[in-house]
Amino acid sequence: METPIRKPLSARGDRLLLSFWIVLVASISVFLLVSAWMLLAPLVLGYLLAILLSPVAEAMDRRRVPRTMGAFLVLGSLATAIAMVVVMASPAIFHQIQDFRDHSPEYLRSAEEKLSGLMVLLGRLVPAQELDRARELAVRRLTSHGSPFDSLHDLLDVLPLLENAVLTLVVAFFLLARGSEIRRAFMLLVPNRYFEMMLRLLYRVQRQTADYLRGQCLDSIVNGILIAIALTVLRVPYAPFLGAFAGFANAVPFLGPLVGGLPAIALALVGASATPWWVILAVLGSIHMLDNLVIYPATVGGSLRLPAWVVILGVALGNHLGGVLGMLVAVPAIGLARGFVLELHENLRGFRIL
């Protein structure tokens, strides 16, 4: 019988030190995010947007378009495209929402019939009064008509989001137009001893972020389009919305594809679609397989390898900090923090500081 090979003490020490670094950086990041989320959000989102759009600005730079003009054109085109989509698609969106609200009591009744066994069980566990109240609340939420903003207060709640959106665009503009100079100027503040290490670290982390972000966006878009087409062919109502939702949800590993497919299956279960739920499940499963085997490796590759428990914890923390946006941003942020720590550790060892 072979004796198990014991890892040398230094290798175990390295792993211990690395774990310590990861915990330290993660704790500092979480603390900063919790305490200054509203301040950091536009900066982080602006940085991510600039990274995402930099290939377009660089392509313009290659064609001798000045960087400032290029940044203006890129962000202006993006803002115009979003505005056009919102303006042109909003009648269809409101029609679909209205349609869903009109049919929602019917869906709810159907769901109650299908889940009667479960309701009996729930009736034993939860007081009948509470169950009725929950049902009334669900019906009211699903069937409420009129403006999406019930009051001026609701409208004012949206203003910080708009402020953040504008700030995000401003940050992205400066980074696209003068990112190289800003980075170079900040590097002048770094002492000679650490200059090369810092430069290498920043470049590698930025490259990793850019690769992941662009790949993930492409993967989500392809997934969303495939699911929307498949659901349209299967005659599932609200297919474009369900495709868009599945595309967004796809950004969260493990949980995303599961959550993204649930609304379509739920609609089939309550009788909104003529196609049986198991056919929809099989088609969505096939698309997920195609994504796992072909699309994801081609677009994102293996840049973010996180254990499932980290993903679940990250999504929960993201939800607590920033709602749906926080959930979408959490997992990439954790992956990038991990990449940063690994790169930092490698650099500190490479430059013999550790």
């Binding site: 290659r62 800003i182 170079r184 002048l188 000679n192 001893r193 090369e196 430069l199 490479g350 013999r352």
Partner: protein, 183 residues
Amino acid sequence: MLAPEPSGEQVHPLWTDLVSRIRVGRPDRMSEWLRRVPLLEGTHRRHLSHLARILHRRRYEAGEVVFRQGDVGSGMYIVQTGRIRIVAEDPVRGEIQLSILDAGQCFGEMSLFDHGPRSASAIAHEDSVLFGLFEGDLDQLERTRPQAAVRLLHNLSLSVSLRLRHTNERLRDIEEGSARGPY
């Protein structure tokens, strides 16, 4: 040996770029100087001014270490002013001086390609100013000015092959027992 670039206003670019918007005109003067660097021979003037915006300008005091042998490397340096001593650190014989580089000469270019450990140490022999070009800068140059990047890589490969040829000749000399003194 190239003449040093005339010194410009000493304003930190962080403030010149973001706040006062004062143009010190340094990139133009830099590109004029870069035109005379052998490594950048044949590079278009327009590309040189772009390169001048990419390069990192660093000052080193006499005796200050630019990089140490064995450190992870990610780029190369061009000497603008001053002199740089290249030394190999031998555990038995101590420091062996390989060469002293003057203005216009470059060093550390192998790490630009392989990102591997530095094969020798570089120490400022006197107060010096260096231009640094690193993997991220080369990557950016490839994306925004591919022609300039091709020219630079061509010149770099010429420089590396010349050094390799020289090393082969020295090795042959040593093997034949007729080494011509220190490198």
